[in-house]
């Protein structure tokens, strides 16, 4: 990068907050090193940096906690990494209104700690919440098991401030939980992987913390039986916060034995939870439940954390991770079919799923050789799409990504998406090439 340009960046954010050369190594994106890393401290600095990048035709990669930079198609170009960690303030918390406005660089755990002081929480439970930032979570629409009852970012974000490709701040939504003024722009930015703007602020609706929060681990011999258990739970009067299907290999990885399991989150006041635990017993025992454990407190949290970690690369020779979206009652059967397909290719599969919303996370292991991995991912995509759903490669090494598309074939909606992208980022500088359809 020309010195003149670096100097301009240094003037915008301050020299200590511009990294070059070897200092950039923690910010490599899918094997590509950025030409510089900039760490703005305010949204005005973000806007100025983006404006400058736009003028120079320099691609911009927003970076929160860096916990999901491997998600998406490999970038076509990497120029400037824009690190948001210094934008980490809570701007407003109104407990009486159940709303909070925060800067995008705050980690979720730190936000929850503050909210917890007033007995409230943001009802989102994505993995690695100690490192993932609010901005990154919203941009990748990350979620966890509690989405079953509490929804995802799409249900919890009520306002967003984004720095557009032209450096101007755009505010969508507002600070109130009910708002139909104008277009629902936050929906556009949520899950857009930084391709339409750099998130700098978000306003969320909150919930009071429940008195009791329990995890029940019900083990079965076969996934099929756990699937029947899920069906019974979903058709009952229970109001669980989470319903997770866990297969044999995933259960082993969690250190919870073998076979299969249904993990059910129950929260509320004590009489409610007690009734629900008893009702769960009544529903699951006749379906072949082998045994059941209840966890509270740290043991409960640790189990949910470990479950979330399964969807990430970087442990136990994970060769690839795929996420499917299918219908809830198709899940158990498709998970079994997927495991069989993996085994035919000489690989192992560990699978978990949000049983009430139909989202499966399938983790492949057993060989570093791309051949069988590519074949299995193709089989898996086929399974999901033929069932009427879709599949996304959440993580795979570059050698595999070269041969298996991360995203499904987009279909007719691509022209609408491209139309939006072209109008909001005409020069294509925001995270180019990572998104659906090559956006």
């Amino acid at each position: 990068m020309p010195t003149a340009l670096l100097d301009q960046l240094r003037r915008i954010v301050g020299a200590p907050h511009v990294l070059t050369g070897v200092e950039c190594s923690p910010y490599v994106v899918e094997g590509r090193a950025p030409t510089a890393v900039v760490l703005p401290g305010t949204r005005e600095e973000v806007a100025a940096a983006v404006t400058l990048a736009g003028e120079q035709g320099l691609p911009v990669t927003p970076w929160g906690g860096g916990t999901k930079m491997w998600m998406g198609s490999p970038p076509s170009r990497v120029g400037l990494v824009l690190g948001l960690k210094r934008l980490d303030r809570i701007l407003e918390h109104e407990p009486g209104d159940l709303t909070v406005t925060v800067e995008a660089g705050l980690t979720l755990d730190r936000l929850q700690a503050e909210l917890g002081k007033r007995g409230q929480w943001l009802s989102l439970d994505p993995a690695v919440s100690d490192r993932a930032t609010v901005g990154g979570i919203v941009a990748s629409d990350a979620s966890g098991p509690r989405r079953h009852l509490y929804g995802t970012a799409r249900d919890l974000v009520i306002g967003l401030t984004v720095i557009g490709a032209d450096g101007r701040a755009v505010r969508g939504g507002g600070k109130v939980v009910k708002n139909v003024a104008g277009y629902d722009l936050p929906k556009l930015y949520i899950g857009s992987f930084g391709t339409l703007g750099v998130l700098v602020e978000a306003t969320f609706k909150l919930r009071p913390r429940a008195d009791v929060d329990r995890l029940v681990i019900a083990r079965f011999d076969r996934l099929k039986d756990a699937g029947q258990g899920a069906r019974a739970v979903l058709g009952s009067d229970l109001v669980p916060s989470a319903v997770e299907l866990v297969d044999d290999l995933a259960l082993q990885r969690l250190g919870l034995g073998s076979g299969a399991a249904l993990l059910v989150g129950l929260d509320g006041i004590a009489p409610q939870v007690e009734w629900e635990v008893a009702e769960l017993d009544r529903l699951l025992v006749p379906l072949g439940r082998r045994d059941s454990r209840e966890l509270d407190g740290e043991a409960r949290d640790e189990t949910w954390r470990a479950l979330g970690a399964l969807e990430r690369p970087g442990h136990d020779a994970v060769a690839a991770v795929m996420r499917w979206a299918v219908l809830p009652l198709q899940m158990a059967e498709l998970m079994d079919a997927g495991t069989a397909a993996a085994q035919r290719n000489g690989l192992g599969a560990a699978m978990t799923g949000h049983a009430g919303v139909g989202i499966v996370t399938a983790s492949l292991s057993g060989s570093a050789d791309p051949g069988p991995v590519v074949a299995t991912l193709a089989d898996w995509r086929d399974l999901a799409v033929r069932a009427g759903g879709h599949a996304m490669v959440a993580w795979a090494p570059l050698a595999v990504k070269e041969r298996v598309p991360v995203w499904d074939e987009p279909g007719p909606t691509l022209r609408l998406m491209k139309g939006i992208k072209e109008r909001l980022d005409p020069s294509g500088i925001l995270n180019p090439g990572r998104f659906v359809g090559g956006i």
């Binding site: 629902d184 006041i269 409610q272 979206a325 499904d408 909606t413």
Partner: protein, 490 residues
Amino acid sequence: MPPLTDARKKSLRREMESLLGAGGVLSDPEELLVYESDGLTLFRALADFVVFPRSAEHVSALVKLANREGMPFVARGAGTGLSGGCLPTEGGLVISLMRMNRVLEVDYDNQLAVVEPGLVNLHLSWAVGPQGFYYAPDPSSQQACTIGGNIANNSGGPHTLKYGVTTNHVLGLEVVLPDGELMWLGGKTRDAQGYDLVGLFVGSEGTFGIATKIVVRILRKPQAVKTVLAVFDQIDQASEAVSAIIGRGLVPAAMEMIDQLTIEAVEDAFGCGYPRDAAAALLIELDGLAAGMEAQAERVVAACRDCGAREVRAARDEAERALLWKGRKSAFGAYGRVSPAYMVMDGVIPRTKLPYVLGRVNAIVAAHGLRVGNVFHAGDGNLHPNILYDPRKPGEEARVVAAGAEILKVCAEVGGSISGEHGIGLEKADYMPFIFSEADLACMHRVKDAFNPAGLCNPGKIFPSNKACVEVGPAYRPHPIEEKGLAQRF
């Protein structure tokens, strides 16, 4: 679009009749009058045609025809909207979805349904009720309003604090885009890849196209429901009680507040047993598991008492529950006892700002020589000041509109919004700058341009623009049959 000649009108009418059948097209002025306004009768605009498709293919063909003719078009459901959103302000085509009103599919196992846009909201809940399910977004007009209209406005209702609004219950949409192309956005599965086009379409007030099939979530009915009524001598106390209830870890299904004027009107009209001199009545509804319901109700009662409630009543059975709700539900009807007309305003504020905002609302309305009764969805901050007036008095309607604009400014000032449920439509388009910057509006324009580059799909809505082709003003105009001496108004 230049005005259509009689010959062109006849020719287009024949063409559309050959597509839809003889009963599928209206173009006579008397017939068109019925469709000249929605629930906000302040604004009126005449279409050139009102048409009644029965399939997505019909809708697509009509939109393509409109494009060919350079003719504006707008979709219409039941016409219960309160912001003029379905008015054909530039003439052209009103595409009524009322004959596309079927439940196409219900999947109880996967808790979803596929419906047509003209289906009445309440009818969907009725359809899935026998199996123990319901459709959660329940605006007060649900006996008449349609799912398609709900999509356009991202409709809410009293239960949004706990259950969200329409957008939280829609999984997929088949839409006819403004150029006539038929396309699916989302579907039955979650997390559709790419931009959230479904989320963007919901609440776009008919400017991004016309939904022809909707995939919705259906929920299992809660096991139990419990209602508590609390009466307060001061608005502040009622407002604090709402925060106190939340502070005790509860998220009620609904929290509704009515003010003194409304209470008096209700008691005059229906005698529901609310104390006439109370400053506010707060109705709280809990729903969920039967286990623990009594304990939760006790917390609500305690919270209200701690905040100085004069009286707190918990319903002991369904009959008592209906009685407690009767006051709230009769509020709008009761206004008719104390005033010839009223205008429903729709703003949102942070809940904690209610006492301040109500003080300002009352002052603004008084300064315009009018009266106001306030209904507040306390759970979500949605305020409905109902300004009472007499449309027969010259200038009164204009003062109502002026008061309304000032009220919305106050909502914006305290960090709220200018619409909680009714949408921007025509009525509030000029107020968008109260809450959005020029950059915000420019971004929305660009997104609209991606869907609606020709600008034919429901023009003149949402964004500030001139209202040249819309009639505004005194609500009364003689109907053509009156002018012909065939009928009289009493």
